[in-house]
Symmetry: C2
Subunit: 456 residues, 2 copies
């Protein structure tokens, strides 16, 4: 991989030199030999002058192909478009797949958007404007309107001829969508199926009429789940009257799966893991707010312990086990949290059968608490030659684990219930919270047995 | 979603009834109307007798299409195949895409595999046997050999005619792979490109000769990264002599991305989050080993605190801040761990620029420690009317956070360096380990200032 990276860096270096020295012809040839993705990566390495030079050499649709591979968080598109001639910029946007163009326009001021759309053919501008209305986290936000749609009374040969025409503009020609006279979606056909039927066959007789589709306002995670299950390459998006609105293609879904996974992972650790390119100062300032919040939550625990200081001064042995009990309960809580968050994300954040799940987690917590508590009871009993002390630690451990386990699944479920993302309840939050309950449980149990180990 | 699920359950119930009552014709019609994925989900609900009935009604290739949608962890294929007539079972396997068939055969005894392969055409059996040699986590383990390959001197019309023939067996006909007389991979062509060229054009003149491919022993994560970057639907796999060995399709890659994400998430929490269907007892027994291990690690910390019991009995106020310091350092360590694991997974587990990254994390830790330490110093100083105590807590907090932060990134890097999965270092592990270092730092600093708060 490292070798490949060096090759690419060398290639990019040569290309920049060609730009600087205005060898337009040589640049064009080499540039077009690269894959769109590599063109995009190359573009990200250019300075302002080099980019201006590139706009001179390449046509708008060639630049559009390249922009189709870039993400909206990699590039400040408002700045980039402003560098171009207005008509050129509008042509670039119009030549892109409209879901990608919409993702970029999302970040621009309304006046800027209007300026670019004004120079496009009316129909294209309207389609783009339509896409801008959808929430980016929904099927509508992911879909493209560059798809192939056909009437159900065409035959295979007519369909193939039409597909050939669409091949330049559609985002995929491998699925086509069949509509009736009311424009209702009535079937789908893959190019592969077209290929295996007689040229005279009528679409309505060979299409799959049991159409799997998603609604325009479905959450992107639900859309990704359908792709995973059915192994589709593209999926139609309909409104609630079952009119075809667009299609989602698999490349956009891979991004969704990736982003969602990274998001869950980040939240579990209470940190944005995508900070790799930032400076230590930036990293620190993104991690601090959460840490300081938890610090103040931890202060409540400290106040609570201070409340039991009298107990502690009489039996300092109790202090020895504070971190063992809080730590173990925190670990158990983190486990049950991760299981609950994952389960909620699989059921699309709808906490169904809430009580059943909680009961299950309660039993799991009790079993874990019982075994962990017994273990520590024996260990402490032998170590400190006091099975009463062992029993206190073991009992406290068991109760603390059961509570932390329950909190770990209850809190994300409650978050989901009141409409928050359950993943906001992070591992550090659960462990800090369970420190509090664990300390409370520990010292209350210890006070009951105070007579036994005063002065230990 | 719930409504859809109810509909499907009802549908499945009706189908099972048709099987039980041996209404073969009606069953066939309804069954074939479902998508392959739904057929697979239905199959999972059947009992032994119902499955036997289904094998009577459906042809082997129809059962194969359904099995193509099932994962090897959803079904005990050894048992299922043994229910069938031997020839029928062999035909089912042969009609499946060979990457999927290989995934199932992976789990069978060698003698069973040989029995099924013996009844297949020699070439098919050899291809399947070949796939069984590859590590399941590599490109070779993901690839299929059901792809379309053509000589470079064919023209577009000949290519389209050939594709038509392959349409029944190939896993995708949307990409075709072009080879020279030595069988070396020299180019790729999408069906879309074929469609937009003249029928007389020769493949070698219109193909993309800058082929992006992966090696047969490349890790599956690296393969997934290429799909993400280039937005391919299929990708050729070559050996180190650049001979084409197979192709990986996007559906298999979605699974990889999903599995890897779930794996990282599970490891961060020290639990297998995919336990949703298990009983509380099973859940407890899968979570306990890790918890008990950490419990013993935590015992070392307890022993350490016991070592300072004298100090504690003289100044019980010190006990108040144990959980605050260990907790906050643990939270900071978890953050830096998650960032490090993610960074290592992006660079494909090769810890490059190790010292630079560690230095960066050290500075980040110092900044976080400084700010958190100052905050707690002021809070404790005001609360307890003692800025000496505040300074001790603040200083200990700063040092503990810096060390935990460094450990959070150092440990996964060391794991990667010695060839382990860096994600094995989980959040609970880092917090339990940092409890130990935090306590050590805290009491050592506290002993230095003992004179100031004896008896507090």
């Amino acid at each position: 991989m490292q070798e490949l990276q060096n090759q690419i860096n060398l290639q990019f270096h040569k290309l920049r030199k060609l730009l600087d020295e205005q060898h337009s012809k040589q640049f064009r040839k080499r540039f077009l030999d690269m894959h769109f993705y590599e063109q995009g990566q190359f573009f990200l390495t250019l300075n302002h002058e080099q980019r201006l030079q590139l706009y001179q050499i390449m046509a708008p649709d060639e630049v559009g192909d390249m922009f189709d591979t870039l993400e909206d968080d990699q590039i400040d598109m408002s700045k980039i478009l402003a560098e171009m001639d207005l008509k050129y910029a509008s042509d670039v946007l119009n030549s892109m797949y409209d879901d990608n163009a919409a993702d970029f326009l999302e970040h621009l001021d309304k006046s800027e958007v209007d300026r670019y759309l004004a120079l496009m053919p009316r129909a294209d501008a309207n389609q783009l404007r339509g896409l801008l209305h959808y929430d980016t986290q929904t099927a509508g936000g992911l879909m493209t309107t560059d798809y192939v749609v056909m009437r159900q009374d065409l035959n295979v040969k007519e369909a193939l001829d039409l597909l050939r025409k669409f091949a330049h503009t559609a985002e995929t020609i491998y699925y086509l969508y069949v509509i009736d006279d009311d424009n209702d979606l009535v079937g789908t056909l893959s190019l592969r199926e077209l290929f295996t039927h007689n040229e005279k066959a009528i679409l309505s007789t060979i299409m799959t009429s049991n159409v799997i589709s998603v609604f325009v306002d479905d959450d992107q995670e639900a859309v990704a789940q359908v792709f995973r299950d059915y192994q589709f390459v593209a999926l139609p998006v309909v409104d609630h009257a079952h009119k075809l609105m667009g299609i989602v293609t698999v490349d956009d879904v891979i991004e969704v799966i990736d982003d969602e996974a990274q998001d869950d992972y980040s939240k579990l650790a209470g940190v944005d893991v995508d900070e790799s390119k930032s400076t230590p100062l930036k990293a620190a300032s993104s991690r601090l707010p959460w840490l300081i919040t938890l610090l103040f939550l931890g202060m409540i625990t400290a106040t609570l312990i201070a409340h039991f200081e009298d107990l502690l001064s009489q039996a300092s042995i109790l202090a020895v086990f504070i971190s063992l009990i809080t730590g173990t309960a925190g670990n158990a809580g983190t486990q049950s949290l991760a299981v609950a968050v994952r389960r909620l994300s699989l059921t699309n954040n709808k906490p169904q059968h809430l009580w059943g799940l909680l009961l299950k987690e309660l039993v799991t917590g009790l079993v874990i608490g019982l075994i962990t508590g017994m273990t520590i009871m024996i260990v402490v009993g032998i170590w400190k030659h006091s099975f009463v002390l062992g029993a206190v630690i073991g009992l406290a451990m068991m109760a603390a684990i059961t509570v932390a386990n329950l909190a770990g699944s209850l809190i994300p479920m409650l978050m989901a219930k009141i409409g928050f993302d359950p993943a906001v309840a992070s591992g550090p939050f659960i462990s800090t919270l369970s420190d509090l309950t664990s300390v409370l449980i520990y010292f209350n149990i210890a006070s009951l047995f105070m007579g036994f180990f005063k002065g230990m």
